[in-house]
């Protein structure tokens, strides 16, 4: 009930004779006092929601968000978006864990396993989906996997998807050779010192599984996987730490082959670099989401999410960051560029992509991240 209605009822009771004049004036005075005391704090509270913090992967992805989503959103709503960046999901989770509630609001997280980790640490919120009508355009399969982790509710909206495939310099490696060798190209001694790899334990174990002919979501011979990770390490020039470093190493020809993120490789191709990209069978598919962290101003965040999911914004961001949007191509016309992006699925079923099983990966996280940390350092 708003204050106007309260005053009207009070006045009605007074006019009906239910209240004497002294009581009526006393109540009006008390209401005025309460309003006077409450209003400055209420204004302060409202002011706090005039700013939302968003953290993402930086580089071309952040540029796309700023240009196509945040600036127009701020212009439309007056809510400022403070955008930060991170080099990896682990680093960001550590920052969130160390922060005060409400300090971080929305994060561009990768993979359902990341979603599950945030939930396990009690960092999730519950979205009011009524405030995000544009959620109806999203591929249902993408939302369903998140719902299964949080009892049918959502703490995020799916936003885009992509793959971590194999990127190679066509000057030194032909398309045929890449196709023929697949994941084993990363353990090919012929390219010793010219191979790069992401210093992410999941990616290393995933590719170790592929190199040893195992199901990446259910490897049974881990000794073989670790041996493949060691072989890859011994042939490496460097473990890269960020998308920017990946692009620099490939563009400068410091490395000829590495696994890479589909959107970043597409960006390199757009810049004119002759870099090939393939997804080997059972290549690493992933989806990214916009996750709202516990303690965030929910309505402001939901409004931003809804704005970002609007087809025109989502398509513009997708074209800028080179990852297909989570929008269902059967419900939304995605334009001309998006169907040409790597990993794009025109059916909207995403059946052709293999995603990480969050239960399998999170149950091994502690042991495998530690193990990879050792192998990475020569053990």
């Amino acid at each position: 009930m708003d204050n106007t209605k309260r005053y009207e009822r009070l006045r009605e009771r007074y006019l009906n004779g239910d209240l004497d004049r002294r009581k009526f004036l006393g109540l009006i005075g008390a209401a005025g006092l309460a309003y006077g005391v409450q209003t400055p704090f209420a204004r302060h509270a409202m002011a706090a929601t005039e700013e939302v913090r968003f953290d993402g992967w930086g580089g071309v992805v952040s540029e796309a968000f700023r240009k196509y989503a945040f600036d127009p959103y701020t212009k439309k709503t007056g809510i400022k978006v403070v955008d930060g960046t991170f080099g990896g999901g682990d680093e960001y989770l550590s920052r969130v864990k160390a922060s005060q509630e409400g300090e971080y609001n929305i994060a561009h997280l990768s993979g359902v396993f990341d979603y599950a980790r945030y939930v396990n640490l009690g960092l999730n919120s519950t979205l009011n989906e009524d405030n995000i009508p544009n959620l109806k355009y999203v591929i249902p399969k993408l939302t369903d996997v998140f719902r299964s982790v949080t009892d049918g509710k959502l703490s995020c909206v799916p936003y885009d998807y992509g793959t971590t495939g194999i990127a190679y310099n066509r000057k030194y490696i032909s398309d045929d050779e890449a196709k023929e060798k697949g994941a084993k190209l990363l353990i090919d001694a012929a390219y010793k010192g010219k191979i790069g790899a992401w210093s992410d334990w999941r990616t290393r174990v995933w590719y170790g599984s592929l190199q040893t002919g195992q199901d990446p979501n259910d490897a049974t011979d881990m000794d073989a996987v670790w041996q493949a990770v060691r072989t890859n390490r011994d042939l490496l020039l460097k473990y890269w730490q960020s998308g920017a470093e990946l692009m620099s190493l490939l563009a400068e020809e410091e490395i000829y082959v590495t696994e890479g993120w589909s959107g970043r490789i597409y960006a390199l191709q757009e810049q004119g670099h002759d870099i090939g990209y393939i997804d080997p069978p059972n290549g690493f598919g992933w989806q990214e989401c916009l996750f709202v962290i516990k303690g965030s101003p929910m309505e402001a965040c939901e409004e931003l999410l809804n704005f970002m999911l609007a087809p025109e914004t989502s398509i513009a961001v997708a074209e800028g960051q080179n990852y297909p949007p989570a929008l269902d191509p059967k419900k939304v016309d995605l334009g001309k560029k998006i169907p040409t992006l790597p990993a794009f699925d025109p059916t909207g079923t995403l059946d052709g992509l293999t995603f990480a099983n969050p239960e399998y990966w999170n149950s091994h996280e502690q042991a495998w991240s530690k193990m990879f940390g050792r192998i990475q350092k020569g053990y």
Partner: protein, 288 residues
């Protein structure tokens, strides 16, 4: 209040802002780290409070940590020696130069105006496959294809020397500045050569400065993690990288705390040894 009592209180009043800052920003966080080192990381990544010795047991008995620590100390020692060998002549030259001393000191301080990370990354443009050195070598026909110079232990040491050399030069310079130049002349007038005078008079007198610079270079290089991350190869990690990894990648703050305290204890012991033999006064002079 008597004058005596007021005089006794005065230093404490003057020191109180600094002591408060040290207490709040250094001592209390350190206590938190000590407490954390006895907790445990659960399977979900959350911390389990309590008094467990598991992290300390792992940190102190696992050869993996010992080997990386020894490797780190070795790299720090090589860096320190390189800084001393390169820094001493530079400091001597500045201390003995006439007229342009201020300009030389300004040039020495110039690198501090640029971010340490940028300075470290600049080596990629110098030594990279398409960097300046390879460009020159290729254009002069000395090599037919680019030489791979980056991402190994020597480039890590190079990056550290680049970062730490000014600290060494400044410390040695301060020590040399405090030596009366006429002492060398006196030694020469008594029959020694210039080299003998330097070796017998100047060098021994400047040793405290050299030691202070050495201590700073050693401690700073042993605690770095950016340089091996940017310029190192797959197996060139240093001990601070383990701390970073335990805390950031593995979300294992308790183990990361134990590891960071282990490094702190080793470097702290080194500072105590230095203080026992040379005192902290020289170090303060160099930093000042």
């Amino acid at each position: 209040m008597s004058v005596e009592a007021r005089e006794k209180r005065q230093p404490w009043i003057l020191l109180s802002p600094a002591l408060t800052a040290v207490g709040l920003l250094l001592f209390i966080p350190l206590v938190f780290i000590v407490v954390y080192s006895f907790w445990l990381r659960t399977a979900t990544g959350a911390d389990q409070a309590g008094f467990y010795l598991d992290n300390w047991n792992e940190a102190l008995t696992d050869p993996f940590y010992r080997d990386i620590l020894l490797g780190t100390l070795r790299i720090a020692a090589i860096t320190t020696i390189a800084c001393a060998v390169m820094g001493y002549p530079a400091a001597y030259f500045i201390a003995r130069s006439r007229g342009n001393k201020a300009l030389l000191l300004l040039l020495l301080m110039l690198p501090f105006w640029i971010s340490y990370i940028i300075r470290t990354m600049s080596w990629i443009n110098i030594l990279g496959v398409s960097g300046a050195v390879n460009w020159v070598l290729l254009n002069l026909g000395i090599v037919s294809e680019p030489v791979q110079m980056l991402y190994n232990e020597p480039t890590v040491i190079l990056g550290l020397v680049h970062f730490l050399l000014p600290f060494m030069v400044l410390n040695v310079y301060v020590a040399l500045e405090g030596i009366d130049v006429s002492l060398e002349d006196a030694a020469c007038s008594l029959g020694s050569t210039r080299w003998q005078a330097f070796r017998e008079v100047t060098l021994p007198l400047s040793l405290p400065g050299l030691a202070a610079g050495g201590l700073l270079c050693f401690v700073l290089s042993a605690g770095t993690y950016i340089t091996p991350l940017v310029l190192g190869g797959p197996t060139d990690a240093m001990f601070a990288n383990l701390v970073f990894e335990a805390i950031i990648t593995q979300l294992n703050w308790p183990l990361g705390s134990a590891l960071s305290l282990m490094l702190l204890a080793v470097l702290g012991a080194l500072v105590l040894i230095y203080n026992h033999y040379l005192g902290m006064g020289q170090l303060m002079k160099g930093l000042g």
